[in-house]
């Protein structure tokens, strides 16, 4: 794997701010819900399925919205393997950032409850903790699940990207 292309792809992904920020928020919500789903036997399948659908749609959305850029990169000699790293770069950026946000929020809420509980009424923090915080074990399992669920989507997105001919960039002139 060409790490230089991967790191540059992450930087490149960050330039599509609106899409990336939107999906970071969606993924953070998804991580919380999948973590809860995994903890309750009746719901896990539903949330895992929802995560699968979203991850797949997101990967396809990236390949679609980057179609012209992909065609240009192919014109200047990028291979399909290099193009796959563009897709992976954005997915890595979004998944890891969402994971870190949920992790940070969980740690902060836990800290706030523990710190203020002896002296004050921490009802609000406890409610938020119940709503947003995820236990460490569940969080790491969820990250693993999300990464695995991302793979079919990336595969599909790469298939779509492979079909983008360099000529497409020229036709859109």
């Amino acid at each position: 794997m060409n790490l230089r292309v991967l790191f540059k792809s992450i930087k490149f992904a960050f330039r599509a701010r609106r899409r990336v920020f939107t999906f970071i928020v969606i993924y953070a919500f998804l991580i919380v819900m999948v973590s809860r789903g995994l903890a309750s036997p009746g719901e896990w399948l539903l949330w895992v399925f929802a995560a699968f659908v979203l991850a797949t749609l997101y990967a396809i959305l990236i390949s679609q919205s980057r179609a012209k850029d992909i065609a240009i990169l192919k014109c200047v000699s990028w291979t399909n393997a290099d193009i796959l790293l563009v897709l992976i770069g954005e997915v890595v950026l979004v998944s890891l950032t969402a994971f870190l946000i949920v992790f940070q929020v969980s740690v902060e809420l836990l800290g706030l409850v523990a710190y203020f509980q002896p002296a004050f009424d921490v009802g609000l923090f406890t409610a938020l903790q119940g709503l947003l915080a995820v236990p460490a074990g569940d969080l790491f399992v969820t990250l693993f699940v999300i990464v695995v669920l991302q793979l079919p989507g990336l595969f599909l997105a790469q298939r779509r990207a492979m079909l983008i001919a360099p000529m497409r960039a020229l036709r859109e002139e």
Partner: protein
């Protein structure tokens, strides 16, 4: 003896099927020497751009052979074509085709990113050098939307030249520029090609640009006259 770097042998290109078949290229035979500057002129729709795309391996001919530096492009699979493009070809397009989310510097350097043989430092050095050559060093951190058409085209030229290809294909490079800037851009291309001994194939409908070429090919109805 000067060797041929581009050879086309009885190249035909057709679009569509059956009664709707349109012949874009008809029996093209062509030899272009190393270091030669060739202009292909003709009216819109005569097949000039198709000829360029076929030469560059962007489109496969329906029949015939295309050899770039003795390598038959028609026999190379999709997997190996990018490597050939990286080693032998630079492109300059009418619409610049810069990536909007990358700066001028990144647009040029992006050509080199996949190359694991060239170190990061060397990539940076090559990029800065070629941006200096096209006089765009000062604007390297600007995005395409922050640049004029002429500046964008100079970045596109830098991108085409950064990997020092022996062949430069230019498809209406001045088509989106006013005539004065167009002349300047053509002079850049001509001077850079001369100084580096590059082969240039220029496709244009603007006959005034043929003064930069050593040989002019006139195309009509998919054939060279």
């Amino acid at each position: 003896m000067v060797k041929s770097i581009i050879q086309l042998e009885d190249v035909n290109k057709e679009y569509g099927r059956g009664k709707k078949t349109v012949a874009a290229l008809r029996h093209i035979n062509l030899d272009i020497d190393q270091g030669e500057f060739v202009a292909v002129v003709g009216p819109s729709g005569c097949g000039k751009s198709t000829l360029l795309h076929v030469m560059a391996g962007l489109e496969q001919p329906t029949s015939g052979r295309v050899l770039l530096d003795a390598v038959d492009v028609t026999l190379i699979g999709e997997r190996d074509l990018p490597k050939l493009r990286a080693q032998k070809i630079g492109f300059v397009f009418q619409a610049f085709l810069l990536i909007e989310d990358l700066t001028a510097y990144e647009n040029v350097e992006a050509v080199l990113w996949p190359s694991e043989e060239i170190t990061k430092e060397k990539q940076e050095q090559m990029t800065l050098e070629v941006l200096r050559e096209v006089d765009m060093l000062e604007r390297r951190d600007h995005f395409p939307r922050q640049m004029s058409g002429g500046e964008q085209q100079r970045v596109a030229i830098a991108r085409a030249l950064v990997n020092r290809p022996p062949i430069l294909f230019c498809d209406e490079p001045t088509g989106n520029l006013d005539s004065k800037i167009g002349e300047t851009i053509m002079k850049y291309i001509s001077d850079l090609a001369k100084s580096k001994g590059m082969t240039v194939v220029l496709v244009t409908h603007n006959e005034s640009l043929t003064k930069f070429a050593q040989r002019v090919l006139n195309m009509k109805d998919g054939a060279i006259r």
